[in-house]
């Protein structure tokens, strides 16, 4: 019988009282992972497999999709779930390869700051999107802009 030592012994045991954040992080990775599989596979299919795929993507393509609240919410859900999933995964890697200290703190703050900034930016972009900006040439805009 081969005994395998525990690869890592936690520096701090899980708190006896209050929220066990590591446990909820672990659960989040699994739940968001399954949801992201559906969201991203559909995203890739709609954008790369249907019609001319990547060649068809331009401003008008995005405007056409975001004319429907369905795709707006789809993309915002992907943004939040994927970026938090990715940042938490990067946090695990930082924990694995750095020792507690200034560098580790700095890396984790960089992850947190970039995640918050990009989530705010991305959410604002989706919900304040202007499909028919004034002064833009009509051939760059979706067809419904000229119909008005």
């Amino acid at each position: 019988m081969t005994t395998i030592e525990a690869p890592r012994t936690p520096t701090r045991p899980a708190p006896k009282r209050g929220v066990n954040w590591e446990k909820w992080g672990w659960i989040y990775m699994r739940v968001s992972g399954v949801v992201l599989l559906v969201l991203i596979f559909t995203h890739l299919f709609a954008n790369l497999m249907v019609g001319d795929g990547v060649k068809a993507i331009d401003f008008g393509f995005v405007a056409g999709k975001w004319a429907h609240p369905f795709w707006q919410w789809w993309d915002v859900a992907m943004l939040w779930l994927a970026l938090i999933h990715g940042a938490n995964g990067m946090r695990t890697i930082v924990n694995d390869y750095t020792n507690p200290g200034t560098v580790q703190k700095l890396l984790k703050w960089a992850l947190l700051a970039s995640t918050v900034a990009l989530i705010v930016l991305g959410t604002l972009v989706v919900f304040t999107f202007e499909p028919c900006p004034a002064g833009s040439p009509a051939e760059l805009l979706p067809s419904f802009c000229t119909a008005v």
Binding site: L36, D52, K55, V62, L79, S136, L141
Partner: protein
């Protein structure tokens, strides 16, 4: 060293050196699936950072967005998209494998078989995606 007899020092008994392949995970499918999960995860994370920023250009102007998305339609980036989708598909299927191994004792026992199942499903998915995508990239 307490056990010395007649002036000779007995060497302390060291545990036999373990071969990496001798354990359940190290050097085997379990380890490589973990390595690939990590590498694909980091790659996807950094692409995501870029992808949010390039998509944000729709809020700047149609010209700015079309300029940057035009670079995604070049042959070199087309091949990059094959690598990106390959990384995403592996990470997705292996993630499901991780969940099954965590929650289902049958899957824990058969994690090695499940790794090859992930590889097979990855191959099938990529066979469906790659020709279609490359035709889009290299035609017109």
């Amino acid at each position: 060293m307490p056990e010395t007899s007649a002036g000779t020092l007995t060497a302390p008994t060291k545990p036999a050196k373990q071969r990496p392949g001798g354990t359940l995970y190290r050097g085997r499918e379990g380890m490589w699936s973990w390595v690939l999960h990590r590498i694909t995860g980091v790659a996807i994370f950094f692409f995501l950072l870029v992808h949010i920023l390039d998509t944000a250009l729709v809020r700047v102007s149609p010209e700015a967005y079309n300029a940057v998305i035009g670079t995604y339609q070049t042959p070199i980036m087309g091949l990059g998209e094959v690598a990106l989708v390959g990384a995403i598909v592996f990470h997705a299927f292996n993630g499901l494998r991780v969940i099954l191994v965590d929650f289902w004792t049958w899957a824990t026992r058969h994690q090695r078989f499940l790794f090859y199942l992930v590889v097979a499903l990855w191959l099938v998915t990529m066979l469906a995606f790659v020709p279609r995508h490359l035709i889009n990239v290299f035609s017109h």
